[in-house]
Assembly symmetry: C2
Homo-oligomer: 177 residues x 2
């Protein structure tokens, strides 16, 4: 069994995190990986969408768990009583994932975690420094601004996917203690 690699895509609001993930998913799937995603926000009161759809009407009415199922897709909306530890709560959903691309959620503690920094402007040095000893594998932006950290242009999805691929390969070669 291989380990699941969690890639936290971090950066300021508007830095292009969602767009980066949107392009990395198909690039990684081309390489036959099982790719999953997580969007996390710490803001409360966020309404789950699909306004007007039957399953959404069930959920808005107060259903604790609302499932929508059709032949090839399933959607589950939950109101957990109290989530003490979000990482542990969502981990089972990723049990057979090769890669989980996590939007934001910078400080989450995943079993195997790497960081991609999305940086639209020339502010990534301070940002990378802030991350301390977290494992930043690359900065992605418009122009190189982070000496000492690997850098890719934000449109260079193929090479960013290759970097992730090589991270997975190196994980598989590591002995399991």
């Amino acid at each position: 069994m291989t380990q699941t690699l969690f890639i936290a895509v971090v950066g300021h609001s508007g830095a292009g995190k969602t767009t980066l993930i949107e392009h990395l998913v198909p690039e990684l799937k081309k390489r036959s990986y099982r790719v999953c995603t997580l969007k996390h926000t710490s803001h409360a009161g966020h309404a789950l969408g699909d306004e007007g759809k039957d399953s959404d009407r069930h959920f808005r009415a107060g259903s604790d768990v609302s499932v929508f199922a059709c032949p090839e897709q399933v959607q589950i909306k939950l109101r957990p009583k109290k989530i003490r530890d979000m990482e542990k709560f969502v981990l089972p959903f990723y049990y057979d994932a090769d890669i989980v691309l996590v939007e934001g959620y910078r400080d989450a503690d995943w079993p195997v975690k790497r960081i991609l920094v999305a940086s639209p402007a020339d502010d990534s040095v301070a940002y990378v420094e802030q991350l301390g000893n977290h494992r930043v594998i690359s900065v992605v932006g418009e122009k190189p601004d982070s000496p000492g950290t690997k850098w890719f242009h934000r449109d260079d999805y193929e090479r960013i996917a290759e970097l992730i691929h090589s991270e997975i390969q190196s994980l598989q070669c590591q002995p399991i203690y």
Copy 2:
């Protein structure tokens, strides 16, 4: 441990199934039940909504599992490789439910199942007959049209919730063989 009661709300398209569920959820939650829902469709190619939201963009990009998490709600979108048995697939999500209101999905085989027939017009007799030996607990509509079957007006949510409450009570009193 109590058993989970599955109520299949069945009826023709436009019969008011979603509206009925929408009103029954809060009525049943008032009675302190853990109430869950399921909307099932056998039509393929159904797009899961939330157009434009980050987690939806992840899913549309091809993510196998897309999770959106905020402090009090979690949404999971999945593309299972192949669902052979939808009932078994969704059952774990309802592990601590008292009641699951199921929209449509008439012939699904749940452990403990009762049926509510939503009937807008005077066609419920034939409909109830079609259901054969399934356990119809009531017809809900605009005017009584089904001699031999309990009937409620579609706005009489409180009494319909009472009927469901009494079904649960009687389940709890049954010996477990």
